[in-house]
Symmetry: C2
Subunit: 187 residues, 2 copies
């Protein structure tokens, strides 16, 4: 869409890599373009798993032509057994962005949760609920990795884009809808 | 060389990524094909740094056509600030192996040190010294990342290849030279 920023959000992972694309207008309103999860078999060799993830991300870029790629930042403090695979998948996502001549950015899970729910410690259901409301989806995006990828894309657009208001400084209709949705989630 | 296994060893890193290629015969004798370090600027965006590393690895593969790629395994327990970047670089190396239709393997630092020095806790100088002796180099491979990449390639060939002996079970000349070199290093 003209006047919109198209953001590809990637929630990196080897078993499930969330891929979400949204169009975000300068007034912060957003619409869903694509959401999916790239999966790789846990019993496949690591290099094959990474190639599967890479192919899925390249396909999403080729089909939907995002303007920018946002990837969740991985921390070594997350001492899960999967953290190295997650870091490797995030490296693949960033590499593909660079090789596709797209700008890339990383955001922390806390930044992403705060951006879509107003609370950095929000749980997965809150994130899914807010993403569905913001994008006016009839059902919650499933699985959580898919919702997280969309949340990441929204976070990036909102943190980097202009925060438009109406001439008198009041909220635009889209901003009001977003604020309403936020309020509803904080039950 | 015919009858040799050509191994590309990669010591992953963002600031310095060691790249070493050796030819290893079935009698374990080895010779240097290539050694180098791919560097990326610490102040460049992460996606550009990964693309620089990827380009360097792809060039080494295109020019030297290895049979297999060996990458150092990264652990989250290595709680250095660089561990996530190292993991990302290792993911890039494994991805490029898969996309080059080459088999890939990972080895731990302990396995690598034990393979070339006989001691899993060997220090960097010991590894450099043994790599130089095994490959009959006049000087120590520099920097340590380059030596580590060569050690990784040797480790992979020796762990996966046949351990040939002469018909009467004695050491071949190359094995004897290697055993001598080992003994000299354990001063």
């Amino acid at each position: 869409m003209a006047g919109h920023l198209r953001v590809l959000g990637i929630d990196p992972g080897l078993t499930r890599c969330g891929v979400g694309i949204v169009d975000v207008a300068s007034n912060r309103s957003a619409s869903l373009v694509y959401v999916g999860v790239v999966r790789s078999a846990a019993d496949a060799p690591i290099e094959r798993r990474l190639a599967t993830i890479a192919a899925g991300i390249r396909t999403a870029i080729a089909e939907h032509r995002p303007d920018v790629v946002a990837v969740e930042r991985v921390f070594s403090q997350q001492n899960r057994s999967t953290v190295m695979g997650t870091a490797q998948a995030s490296g693949i996502a960033l590499l593909i962005a660079a090789e596709s001549d797209l700008p890339a950015a990383t955001h922390t899970p806390t930044e992403v949760k705060a951006a879509v729910t107003g609370y950095g410690g929000a749980d997965k259901l809150q994130v899914q609920t807010m993403v569905a409301r913001i994008l006016r989806l009839d059902t919650l995006p499933q699985p959580a990795d898919a919702a997280d990828a969309l949340a990441l894309a929204l976070c990036h657009a909102w943190r980097s884009g202009p925060r438009a208001t109406t001439a008198n400084g009041a909220l635009t209709p889209a901003q009001r809808a977003w604020a309403d949705a936020e309020r509803l989630t904080r039950r």
